[in-house]
């Protein structure tokens, strides 16, 4: 069996607040392999997004060990995490988080530029063409529709050819039809590149498109299995 892409062992996350320490995640064990698609579902406050942030290296676990794409995230400093993330992980946010002062092309080229890659713009243009925005390269985010913005964000996540795609409610800010188009693109791109996908969603139908569904409650993974095993029983 191949080496796991994501390996979380007894991971916990406690955050300080004015009311005292809050246990956000507790005793998380998780293994995701290359090419897997995983949906994370659960009610608000169950720890879905925090789990995604730990996997992205954007948050440091307070307990346990996290290994992603061969990097021990619990042992890396902030800049080393940024470098590891830039090469191995692409992230798609619910609110897109495009840089408003940069064009679509520039937004997509950013991760490569941070790594000092000389052909950043050419690669960015190619990926934008892949998501159907080859004709919108010089448009600023404010000149694009919500769906187009999310496609730019998807292109930006894909451009460094990551081994892992993380998506946080990728359709949360989009209408139904547009959301479906973006999701189709997301799944097609990850399948074409054999990229693993971990997606946080409230949308059960969307979750069903993943081969594996993690269900969370109170900071713990309460079920982990193929979508057919989920309580809804629906099959893809």
């Amino acid at each position: 069996m191949s080496e796991p892409l994501i390996n979380l062992q007894a991971v916990g996350l406690t955050l300080d607040s004015r009311a005292g320490a809050v246990k956000v995640l507790d005793g998380i064990d998780l293994v995701v392999r290359e090419g897997e698609t995983v949906a994370v579902v659960g009610p608000s406050g169950s720890g879905k997004t925090s789990l995604l942030m730990l996997i992205a290296g954007l948050e440091q676990a307070t307990r346990g060990r996290i290994t992603v794409a061969g990097h021990d995230f619990t042992a890396l400093g902030e800049d080393a995490l940024a470098r590891a993330r830039g090469g191995a992980i692409g992230i798609v946010f619910q609110s897109f988080h495009l840089v408003p002062t940069m064009t679509a092309l520039e937004n997509v080229a950013l991760p490569l530029e941070f790594r000092g890659q000389p052909d950043a713009l050419a690669s960015a243009a190619a990926v934008l063409g892949e998501v159907g925005l080859g004709h919108r390269l010089e448009h600023f985010p404010s000149q694009l529709s919500g769906g187009e913005q999310q496609r730019v964000a998807l292109a930006r996540a894909l451009v460094p050819s990551p081994r892992l795609l993380l998506a946080d409610e990728p359709t949360g800010n989009l209408d139904g039809a547009t959301g479906r188009q973006v999701v189709d693109l997301l799944f097609a791109a990850s399948a074409r590149r054999n990229t693993s996908l971990v997606m946080v969603t409230h949308d059960e139908a969307l979750a069903r498109r993943c081969r594996r569904v993690l269900r969370m409650a109170d900071g713990k993974i309460v079920s982990d299995g193929a979508h057919a095993e989920t309580p809804t029983g629906a099959a893809a």
């Binding site: 997004t49 995604l52 942030m53 992205a56 954007l58 948050e59 902030e78 800049d79 940024a82 470098r83 993330r85 830039g86 090469g87 992230i91 946010f93 609110s95 988080h97 495009l98 840089v99 408003p100 002062t101 940069m102 092309l105 520039e106 950013l110 991760p111 530029e113 941070f114 790594r115 000092g116 000389p118 713009l121 050419a122 243009a125 190619a126 934008l128 063409g129 080859g134 390269l137 010089e138 930006r156 460094p160 946080d168």
Partner: protein, 859 residues
């Protein structure tokens, strides 16, 4: 357009040779510098002041250089007190080129009826004056000076006509002779190269001067020889001339000046003024720095999500810091460029406004050095106030993209940011010290500024904490105002920091002004003599004393021999080789008054060594002023050499004296043992102190009687001299206040920026108050209460700090009693309240008129 074309085009425009950080920084700046207007204005204002001062200094210097020959009256001048050039000396001078002889002295001009008299700066000139340049005389198109002066003619400054009540064509008394006023001087080409003038100019020819009896041996006359060297002489020839003079006339005691620097005294004064105003410019730049820091902090705060996005895409902290630093530097460069442009036009605008107040006609000139200093200051101050808030960017976590986080109120930046900030501050100090003549003053100035900034920062923190801890008043408007003052993103720190420094400076200047004016107007006249009488021939002193006693029997007369001489050597070293501090430079440059005596002069106290016994006849001894001796590194037993009347005299320092200069008693830096100069021809200087109740009429009568009996004697009323000085002093203080006000303008800019930043939050707050039933009046009262409390606290601390600074300067540096003036408190409170209420009021007006619905919807 094809994808390839777009990418190709972008590759071209992005210029791939640019480092990634620079490319990304510039890419983001395409959308403009909105939000940075106050930043740009603050940098531009400070740089404009510094470069403007530099440009004006350069223009004056260029004027000096281009008109050097005219201002000096020739290529070279030789001058010395007391002694006219002897035949051999004159022959040597004439052999070098065309020469013109003149003599200057202070004298009294009187109406023929004796009813009015005035101290004048008398100048006697020969038939070839002026050698270079032209004399302009009112209503005389081409002034033929020798013809106008021939046969006891005089040309005078217009002010003399006023003070004596005479006109052109009238006659007046000069010493023992009568002269006719033949014209009014409009321009005297070489006036600047004469010593500082106190009275109006009277120009006569040398023949008239001789018959006036004013230039008798022993009188305080300065003889001057202007020389036009043959052909076009370059700088090396001027240096060669000096060497030749040293070789040919080694002990002649001439002071040499050449056209490269026609008046070292004026050059030095201008240089000091430039340095002082540069420090004021630096202060306004530093105050503006608060606006820079606010703008950058707001920018970073606004970009939290973008920075987080960068981080999520793999950007390192270093990359993020460098991207933003590059942007800020580019914006600072825009401010610096605007400041430099404004600074460059400053002399062009100011020259016509100042007109005759400037000592020389300016010549437009751009010196890279001045621009470099202003730019360096601008960039260093921008960096100093930028690096710290930029460092906070590293504390922004990418997690804010997933969940809203409360921005931490106080984040300590990483250690390297603190080290970078301290290094920039050290560089700024180094530049200030390196570009100042008096490093000690520059150091004190910078340290005081740092202390004032620290104190106002602490006051801002203190007020914020106090407002949070104070029990909340019952009245809702006061309660809300207090809450606003104590809120984390409130205006408190900005108001206190931006206005505090400028106000402290103004309070300090005002109090120093009132203390010095009080000293000049009330204390000095009360404690000092009433008359200084110059040039009393030794043979006349008994008759003079008898006359004074007859007119004012209770008068106290003090007298001392008076000569002028130049220090040539101290402690075995020629003075040319000594680099004294700015404070004592005057002692070594030019002539000093000298005296001798058997006893310690009045107003002096022996602090070290012994006075020579009466009738002492040994090795020449001298008593030196203690503070000046210390600064020159002189001690008892050292020798000094002075050139008096063309003879070098060596004397050993026997003792050190502390002199109370402010007593205005007769006193000198150097007092010699009488055997040193007994044989030298000289006149006497006397002071007359009248009883306090002496009526003015009696004072005037004494003055008239002295004038009538001793026409060659100059009696100056101390009160008049003080008034004349006071007039000049007040003009200087107006200029200093104007310079200080620039700091307040910078403060107002910072305040405007802080208010603009807070505007959105204040509108939201006002909308909520309105929704909850608050009236516009209540919102207005709340804002007014907040502004008044902040302005009052700031003004009061400014009064305390300004008073302390003024007290230190007045009592320690100037030895003048400190006088506190309530008007300074009123001024500080008034300016602070006016600025805060005006600028805040503009914001409040918009807050009051903001419709509630859009803000509630966006909520």
């Amino acid at each position: 357009m094809t994808v390839e074309a777009v990418v190709e085009g972008r590759l071209e425009t992005n210029r791939q040779w640019l480092p990634t950080v620079l490319m990304l920084a510039l890419r983001e700046l395409r959308s403009g510098i909105g939000g940075f207007y106050v930043f740009v204005a603050c940098v531009a204002l400070g740089v404009a002041v510094i470069s403007g001062v530099g440009a004006l200094g350069d223009a004056l210097r260029a004027g000096f250089e281009s008109q050097g020959e005219t201002l000096l009256g020739g290529d070279v001048t030789l001058s010395r007190p007391h002694r006219r050039a002897e035949v051999a000396e004159r022959a040597w001078i004439d052999a070098r080129g065309r020469a013109s002889e003149s003599a200057t002295l202070r004298a009294m001009a009187r109406r023929l009826d004796g009813s009015e008299q005035s101290l004048v700066e008398l100048k006697g000139v020969d038939g070839v004056y002026p050698l270079v340049g032209a004399m302009r005389v009112r209503d005389v198109p081409v002034a033929d000076v020798p013809r106008l002066l021939a046969g006891a003619g005089a040309l005078v400054d217009p002010i003399l006509l006023e003070s004596l009540g005479v006109g052109v064509g009238d006659r007046m008394q000069l010493g023992k002779t009568e002269v006719q006023i033949r014209g009014v001087i409009e321009t005297e080409p070489d006036r600047i190269s004469d010593r500082m003038t106190f009275g109006p100019r009277v120009l006569v020819d040398l023949a008239t001067l001789e018959v006036s009896g004013l230039a008798e041996p022993g009188g305080l006359v300065r003889w001057r020889y202007a020389l036009k060297l043959p052909g076009v002489s370059d700088a090396s020839e001027l240096v060669r001339f000096r060497d030749q003079l040293k070789g040919a006339l080694p002990d002649a005691g001439f002071t040499v000046a050449d056209r490269r620097d026609p008046s070292p005294q004026v050059s030095r004064t201008l240089e000091r003024l430039r340095q002082f105003l540069t420090l004021i410019g630096l202060t306004s730049l530093l105050v503006g720095g608060v606006g820079v820091a606010n703008a950058v902090a707001t920018y970073i705060d606004r970009r939290r999500r973008i920075i987080a996005t960068f981080k999520s895409l793999g950007a390192s902290n270093q990359q993020i810091f460098l991207i933003h630093l590059t942007q800020v530097v580019v914006i600072a460069l825009v401010g610096i460029a605007i400041g430099l442009l404004l600074g460059l036009v400053f002399p062009l605008v100011l020259t016509p406004l100042l007109g005759d107040a400037l000592p020389v006609q300016t010549a437009f000139s751009v010196r890279p050095w001045s621009l470099a200093i202003a730019s360096t200051y601008g960039l260093l101050v921008a960096l100093l106030f930028t690096v710290w808030p930029l460092g906070r960017a590293s504390a922004i976590r990418a997690a804010v993209l997933f969940r809203d986080e409360v921005a931490p109120d106080r984040v300590r930046p990483p250690l390297w940011i603190m080290i970078a900030t301290a290094s920039i501050a050290a560089m700024l100090l180094a530049v200030a010290l390196a570009t100042s003549e008096s490093q000690r003053i520059a150091l004190y100035f910078c340290l005081s500024l740092a202390a004032i900034f620290a104190l106002f920062w602490a006051l801002g923190q203190g007020i914020t904490l106090l407002a949070r801890r104070l029990p909340r008043p019952r009245r809702p408007t006061l309660r809300l105002a207090l809450a606003s003052i104590g809120s984390p993103g409130g205006l408190t720190r900005s108001v206190v920091l931006s206005l505090g420094t400028g106000l402290s400076l103004l309070v300090a200047v005002s109090l120093a002004d009132s203390s010095i004016v009080d000293e000049l107007e009330s204390r000095l006249p009360r404690n000092s003599p009433d008359f200084f009488v110059l040039d009393i021939p030794r043979a006349d002193i008994e008759g003079f004393t008898a006359l004074v006693k007859r007119v004012t029997p209770a008068a106290h007369i003090n007298q001392a021999p008076m000569l002028r001489g130049r220090l040539v050597q101290i402690a075995g070293r020629p003075v040319e080789q000594i680099k004294p501090t700015a404070e004592v430079q005057w002692v070594l440059s030019g002539d000093r008054g000298l005296t001798y005596g058997d006893a310690v002069p009045e107003g002096s106290r022996l602090v070290e060594g012994d006075w020579w016994p009466a009738g002492y006849d040994g090795e020449p001894r001298v008593s030196f002023e203690a503070d000046i001796a210390r600064r020159l590194g002189l001690k008892i037993g050292d020798t000094i050499v002075v050139n008096v009347l063309g003879r070098n005299i060596e004397a050993r320092i026997a003792n050190l004296r502390e002199v109370r200069w402010e007593s205005l008693a007769i006193n000198f830096v150097m007092v010699f043992s009488p055997n040193t100069m007994r044989g030298a021809p000289h006149n006497l200087l006397a002071t007359i102190t009248l009883p306090a109740a002496t009526p003015l009429a009696q004072e005037a009568e004494l003055s008239r009687q002295i004038g009538r009996a001793y026409p060659a004697v100059t009696a100056v009323r101390v009160r008049d001299a003080i008034n004349a000085f006071n007039t000049v002093f007040r003009k200087i203080m107006v200029a200093v206040r104007a310079a200080g006000s620039i700091t307040l303008i910078a403060g107002a800019l910072v305040l405007a920026g802080a208010l603009a930043t807070a505007q959105r939050r204040r509108i939201k707050q006002a909308v909520i108050i309105k929704v909850l039933g608050g009236t516009r009046w209540e919102i207005l009262s709340m804002h007014a209460a907040e502004y008044v409390m902040l302005a009052t606290a700031t003004a009061l601390l400014a009064v305390v700090l300004g008073s302390l600074a003024s007290w230190l300067a007045v009592t320690r540096l100037m030895d003048v009693p400190f006088v506190f003036s309530l008007s300074a408190v009123g001024m500080a409170l008034g300016i602070a309240s006016a600025l805060v209420l005006f600028l805040g009021g503009l914001g409040t007006w918009r807050v009051l008129n903001a419709p509630a619905v859009p803000h509630l919807r966006t909520e």
